[in-house]
């Protein structure tokens, strides 16, 4: 027994030494050229279509750069999933922020996640460019040097939306919002601008993000008889509400926010989606300065999912990050400093100009309406030309 | 001698411990064969072994020349063996009629089912009166009738009866034994497992005594009545 035990002890030590050497070895090899950049977005769950579109677009930017012989570094792309859940977002943020080889990130479609994660980036000094989240507090809630955003906020969105709706003669609104900060803030800003523009919010309803049946709420709404039902939330719940509105014979105009505008919304509803309104920052792809270039590159790679509305933002954000790294070197502090310096950048989404909170001040809001199974810019639609009309 | 059922050198175990160790029993056609023994002797285990509820670990069980050990219960039953289980085990939330119909579960001919039900009602007129009552709400004696009647519904070749006297008043016990005799007179082989020695032997033709998982005595009813082994098994 004794000798056997000693044998085991020796074996154990040998195994330990071997494991260590195995682990240590690859770390001494190639250390130079590779620079890691990260992307975070919802790759699973209800809004994964937007997340995957964003991921593909950001990855595309890295691919294009890596093919460029003039690039100083080889970039390694790290794509992470925040599931559109704040708690997962915080964990993923911690993970990439604490990985010292990651120099910068393009992150977050969901405002709820972005709001909870920005502190982490600040704490770890990781430069992050937000590509989709629209809650104002992501940039304006704190004064974090590390946080930038290429897309506009929901303030602009709702201001445009309220003005548009009231000018089209709508007066009575009912709001349904999900209970995240995204939904709550939409409710707040939309109410504010509607009242300013002479409309009336009859009532508002909070719903949870995994709710399936809305007939009870909608029956109440039917009794209230609003002209417009405004929904502050994301596609999956929007699809359910719109389809159940129809079941209960509610004939109000349905209006959503940027979180609703995705191809999945139309796919989920078919003909019912006709006439739904949505407001979103940025111009449509074909009207963007680099839109044509972007869509041709995107199709070239052959992604099986569309870039969706925020794809170009993710591409632009990643490109900006890569440009900065090329110029200042793969160093977080240098990148943060460079991005904070006042400058204007050209990008496929047009000029990018960060204010002192890191917010892109160029915020054009586009109005969209679903026409024949497509999101069509309001100005180009048959609704605007009077051929078709919204619900009254 | 022709046999209905042969049990040869059967060993059955729950888990590790053998409950039956090398049981040999022959059940004669058209006769009443009884199995006597005190609590825990292994009587119920033997029945479970025959019916395939607890398949034997070793040994053979042969019914009308065909091996049935290890076969699933429903195919054993399909061969013509019926069982009136210990404690009656009627389906409490079914009516008397449904309970009887369950007894004829494998019988497809409506006519035969009707005929058998007629026979059962003839033996137990009380069941006919109460055919729509839920069996669980009946008294112990009535449940015993349901259970016996249910066993007869498939017109089995062999009827295994496990402790029909359990928990019944003396009057009912004698009544039950009279009926068992009657069933046998109609040509059905009966394997009667009982604690009640005297009444059992009074109606049986041949008997076995089981003790600690072994057959300790066997013989005709007359022989067993005077056997010391029987006394031993009960009174020590």
């Amino acid at each position: 027994m004794k000798t056997f035990n000693q044998k085991i002890a020796i074996t154990c030590i040998a195994v330990a030494v071997m494991t260590f050497s195995l682990v240590a070895a690859p770390n001494f090899a190639n250390a130079k050229d590779i620079v890691k950049v990260a992307f975070i977005g919802p790759l699973t769950g209800g809004v994964s279509a937007n997340g995957i579109g964003g991921r593909n677009s950001a990855e595309l930017a890295v691919k294009v750069r890596n093919e460029d012989p003039a690039a100083k570094y080889t970039y390694e792309f790290v794509g992470m999933d925040d599931e559109c859940k704040p708690n997962v977002g915080v964990q993923v943020a911690t993970k990439i922020a604490s990985d010292k080889r990651i120099v910068g990130a393009v992150a977050h479609y969901c405002s709820a996640v972005a709001l909870s994660a920005v502190k982490i980036y600040h704490r770890f000094g990781l430069p992050v460019i937000v590509w989709g989240a629209v809650h104002p507090d992501v940039t304006y809630g704190n004064k974090f040097n590390e946080i930038f955003r290429v897309n506009g906020t929901m303030i602009n969105q709702n201001e445009t939306a309220a003005k548009f709706m009231t000018s089209n003669g709508y007066k009575k609104f009912v709001i349904i919002n999900d209970t995240t900060d995204y939904g709550k803030a939409h409710k707040e800003y939309f109410s504010k601008f509607i009242v300013e523009n002479g409309g009336e919010i009859i009532e508002s309803f909070g719903v949870t993000a995994d709710q399936q049946d809305f007939t009870a709420e909608l029956t109440k709404i039917k009794k209230l008889d609003p002209e417009v039902i405004y929904f502050g939330g994301l596609t999956p719940v929007g699809v359910r509400i719109r389809s159940q509105m129809n079941k209960l014979g509610i004939n109000a105009q349905f209006e959503g926010t940027s979180g609703l505008k995705s191809d999945a919304y139309i796919e989920g509803l078919g003909d019912l989606s006709e006439g739904t309104l949505s407001f979103i920052e940025g111009a449509p792809l074909e009207k963007l300065p680099g839109g044509e270039f972007f869509s041709s590159e995107y199709t070239k790679v052959g992604y099986d999912q569309a870039a969706e509305s925020y794809g170009p933002f993710a591409y632009a954000a990643m490109n900006l990050l890569l440009d900065t790294i090329e110029e200042k070197g793969p160093n977080r502090k240098a990148v943060v400093k460079a991005l904070n310096a006042p400058a204007e950048y050209d990008s496929i989404i047009g000029k990018i100009d960060f204010d002192d909170h890191g917010q892109n001040t160029v915020a054009a809001i586009s109005k969209y309406v679903v026409q024949d199974g497509k999101w069509v810019l309001w100005e180009d639609s048959e609704y605007a030309s009077g051929k078709r009309s919204l619900k009254k | 001698m022709q046999r209905a059922l042969s049990i040869r050198n059967v060993y059955t175990a729950y888990g590790k411990a053998d409950v039956l160790s090398g049981v040999d029993i022959e059940i004669l056609p058209k006769k009443i064969t009884c199995l006597l023994g005190s609590n825990g002797a292994g009587k119920s285990t033997l029945i479970r072994s025959i019916l395939g509820l607890t398949p034997p670990r070793e040994g053979e069980i042969i019914f009308e020349g065909l091996p049935i050990s290890g076969h699933p219960t429903h195919s054993v039953v399909a061969k013509g063996i019926a069982c009136i289980p210990e404690g009656r085990r009627v389906f409490p939330k079914m009516t008397v009629k449904d309970n009887l119909l369950m007894g004829a579960y494998l019988e497809s001919s409506e006519k035969k089912i009707k005929m058998n039900m007629g026979k059962v009602f003839e033996i137990f007129p009380r069941l006919e009166e109460r055919q729509e009552q839920l069996a669980g709400t009946m008294s112990g004696g009535e449940q015993a009738m349901v259970s016996i009647g249910r066993g007869l519904m498939s017109s089995p070749k062999l009827l295994i009866i496990d402790e029909p006297s359990l928990g019944l008043s003396p009057a009912l016990v004698s009544e039950n034994f009279r009926i068992i005799r009657k069933i046998n007179d109609a040509g059905t082989a009966v394997f009667l497992v009982e604690q009640n020695v005297r009444q059992t032997l009074a109606i049986s033709h041949y008997g076995y005594v089981l003790s600690q998982g072994r057959v300790t005595a066997q013989g005709t009813a007359e022989e067993l009545k005077t056997s010391d082994e029987v006394q031993q098994a009960y009174f020590g």
Binding site: T44, G45, G46, S48, A49, T179, F205, G206, V207, T208, D210, Q212, D213, T215, A216, E217, T219, K220, K222, K223, T235, P236, V239, R240, S243, Q244, N246, K247, L248, G249, A264, E267, G268, L269, G270, L272 | L51, L53, P72, T73, H74, V77, A78, A82, C83, P85, R89, F91, P92, K93, M94, D98, L101, M102, G103, Y105, L106, R150, S154
Partner: protein, 307 residues
Amino acid sequence: MDISLLAQFTVNGLMLGMMYALVAVGFTLFFGVLDIIVFSHGDVVMVGAFAALTGHYWLTGIYPDMSMWVELFFISCISIITVAAFGMIMAKTMILRLRSASPLNTLLATMMLGTVLREAVRLFFPGGSNPKPFPVLLPDISASFGDFTLRFDSVILFVLGALLIVSLHLLITKTKLGMAIRAVAQDEETARLMGVNFTLIVLITFAIGSAVAAFAGVMNGLYYNEINFGMGLLLGAIGFSAAIIGGLGNIYGAILGGFLFAGLQTLGAVAMPFASAYKDVFAFGVVILIMAWKPTGLIAEKTSERV
């Protein structure tokens, strides 16, 4: 509250209750024959809805001009048959194996099975992570009485659901098969002694329960015109709750439980002095109170010795 609004809430509640009842019936059937809670049942409903959707893609691919009613009939059949077969395979390969396991293990295993189903649809159904439109296969007719809209499709679905429950009732009480199922539920061993092939009956019961779930899935799709991979989770939890508050093993209890739960949700949404979003808090809270008041369900049938 005026009468038309009340009628509207009642109709909504009844539709919801019918769906819950159909799910709860499966829970209680399975518990009856095997004394096992098959928690993945809610996700089987989801699989049923997706099977019907697949059938729709397939059929409209071949016969684009099929009439609504014919298509409805065929996709229901496709869904019910595939899901029933799936239920049998599931019972054979997994559930029967779990019979000797501890109740916690079976509960957890079937919960995990539910997750596997959910994730499988999400990952392997094309675009499975997005909500899917369910084809409109019922005529879009409705009658309005003031604020009360009675939709023809709701009426049809409700009637179909009720017919299904009635035929299930007839199957269980009037047929030989139903008798065997009841016998197994009351006393498995004695049922075997009567010549009942236990395994077969279990498989058939799973086929029936899963078929009912498939129907509930199709019904769900037709009612909401939208299905998604996550719809089964809460539906399963609610079906389980309904089966339990009704009293496990009792089909009528399950139906009662289903309607009761829908009633509680509707009540919580419209008649309570708090925001409608609290309706589930209210409904589950009442469920807990019911358990404290009637520890073996409203209609106590079979006490559960397990877990």
